[in-house]
């Protein structure tokens, strides 16, 4: 019914395959038929308990579509579930061709050309996103850097653990971050694992559920966090590129000039944020919110984050 409304022609569903399912969300791959055409789709639906700090699926669809209207490559939003659909919070989007498994496109020889193009493409896409007027973003939360740092610290304290390296990183960031206003729409999770990549490079930017208002440089720092390099640590930009190339391409595409000390601060910030996600995922298991060996094991990745934080703080990069 949702699809028929979007398509305005008879729609038949041929096949539905669950890609992921869990306590917080479901993703389905759907093969539909629209009139006589094949219609490959993805359905995302929130389950009862959303992950903390994430957007409702409907809001996620909204910001994804907004970015798309401003020239960011995204999967087109086909339909958003309404209250009368009785399907909960979710939306339907086009299923695009490409490789979403970062370890595959980071290491496979067939993607060498894609990797060479990707730094420039990511920079241009981020410059475009960060130029979208903030007034067009409905319902996105955000805050100045100081407010965001405070929120992140409160999130850390929720877990009631004492990790001296995390407190060291909070102190280090607080000395440097200042209180810059939230003046851009930030994807919030722009990393290798959320890029759909084809032989020519970037096909689409996925997973907009952490979008918020903040500083554009935050997205660039997050892309350089070591965890997204999947072992290719010598390539700081997502495991495929160099920082200077990213900054230059970002400015060439109309983005703000990147202050190197500030970019470094955002890398420390991003690394610490990943560390808090490790705490959250480990806590999900321990608290019983989502019992899973995967989440329990990710809780032990905190020491990787601590090592990266110390290397960043002592030697200026990792």
């Amino acid at each position: 019914m949702v699809l028929a409304r979007a398509a305005r022609v008879p729609v038949r569903i041929e096949r539905m395959v669950a890609l992921t399912g869990g306590a917080s969300s479901e993703t389905w791959s759907v093969d539909a038929q629209r009139g006589r055409e094949r219609w490959p789709l993805i359905v995302q639906r929130a389950a009862a308990e959303p992950e903390p700090g994430t957007l409702a699926r409907a809001a996620q669809a909204g910001v994804q579509a907004l970015a798309g209207r401003h020239g960011v490559p995204v999967a087109g939003v086909v339909a958003v579930f309404g209250e009368r659909d009785g399907l909960g919070d979710g939306f339907v989007m086009d299923r695009l061709e490409g490789e979403a498994l970062a370890p595959r496109w980071l290491k496979d020889e067939g993607f060498a050309g894609a990797r060479a193009a990707l730094t420039g493409q990511c920079a241009a896409v981020l410059a475009r996103l960060h130029a979208v007027p903030v007034a067009e973003a409905e319902g996105l939360r955000g805050g100045s850097t100081n407010a965001q740092l405070l929120a992140m610290f409160e999130n850390y304290r929720r877990f009631r653990v004492d990790l001296p390296v995390f407190d060291l990183a909070f102190a280090w960031i607080a000395e440097r971050c200042g209180d810059a206003p939230a003046d851009a729409i930030v994807h919030g999770d722009f990393r290798s694992g959320n890029l759909l990549v084809g032989r020519q490079g970037l096909v689409a930017v996925l997973d907009w559920e952490l979008a918020h208002l903040g500083s554009g440089a935050e997205d660039l720092g997050w892309l350089c966090v070591n965890a997204w390099r999947f072992g290719v640590w010598q390539k700081p930009v997502g495991g495929f590129g160099e920082r200077e190339d990213l900054y230059r391409a970002y400015a060439d595409a109309g983005g703000a000039a990147i202050d190197r000390a500030r970019a470094h601060m955002w890398e420390v910030w991003g690394t610490l944020r990943w560390g808090l996600a490790c705490l959250q995922l480990g806590h999900d298991h321990v608290s019983g919110r989502v019992r899973s060996v995967e989440r329990a094991a990710i809780g032990r990745r905190v020491s990787e984050v601590e090592a990266d934080l110390l290397h960043l703080i002592r030697f200026g990069s990792v």
Binding site: A171, E304, E306, I313, R314
Partner: protein, 118 residues
């Protein structure tokens, strides 16, 4: 009496068993994660990282105390700005403590060698 199988041997046996399971898809992925987690347990039994971490923190604080007490004290003093990233000896002590844990959690993590050699 038969030879007593030590904890570590037992954990390694289970890890080998899990690694050998013929599974597909999500289950295969979770089995790999589970075998990795058992590897952490085996290394923790062998290496006693808490003792090494406690020694590193006690060296900085200048006195012995239970590990959790020392961690809490360092965090509290960092939050109060009584310690800062510039405090002499602090990042070195935290580095030694972190390396001890990372050798257990993920001995192949690239930053381990780079930070250890520094």
């Amino acid at each position: 009496m038969a030879e007593q199988i030590e904890m570590q041997a037992l954990v390694e046996a289970v890890a080998d068993f899990v690694r050998g399971l013929q599974l597909e898809g999500q289950a295969a992925f979770h089995a790999r994660v589970a075998a990795g987690a058992l590897g952490i347990v085996a290394r923790e039994l062998a290496q006693a990282p808490r003792a090494a971490e406690a020694a590193a923190l006690a060296g900085f604080l200048g006195r012995e105390a239970p590990l959790d007490t020392m961690r809490a004290e360092l965090c509290g003093r960092l939050r109060m700005r009584q310690l800062t990233p510039e405090t002499p000896g602090l990042v070195e002590a935290l580095t030694a403590a972190t390396l001890a844990r990372l050798r257990v959690d993920n001995p192949r993590y690239p930053t381990l060698e780079r930070l250890g050699a520094a």
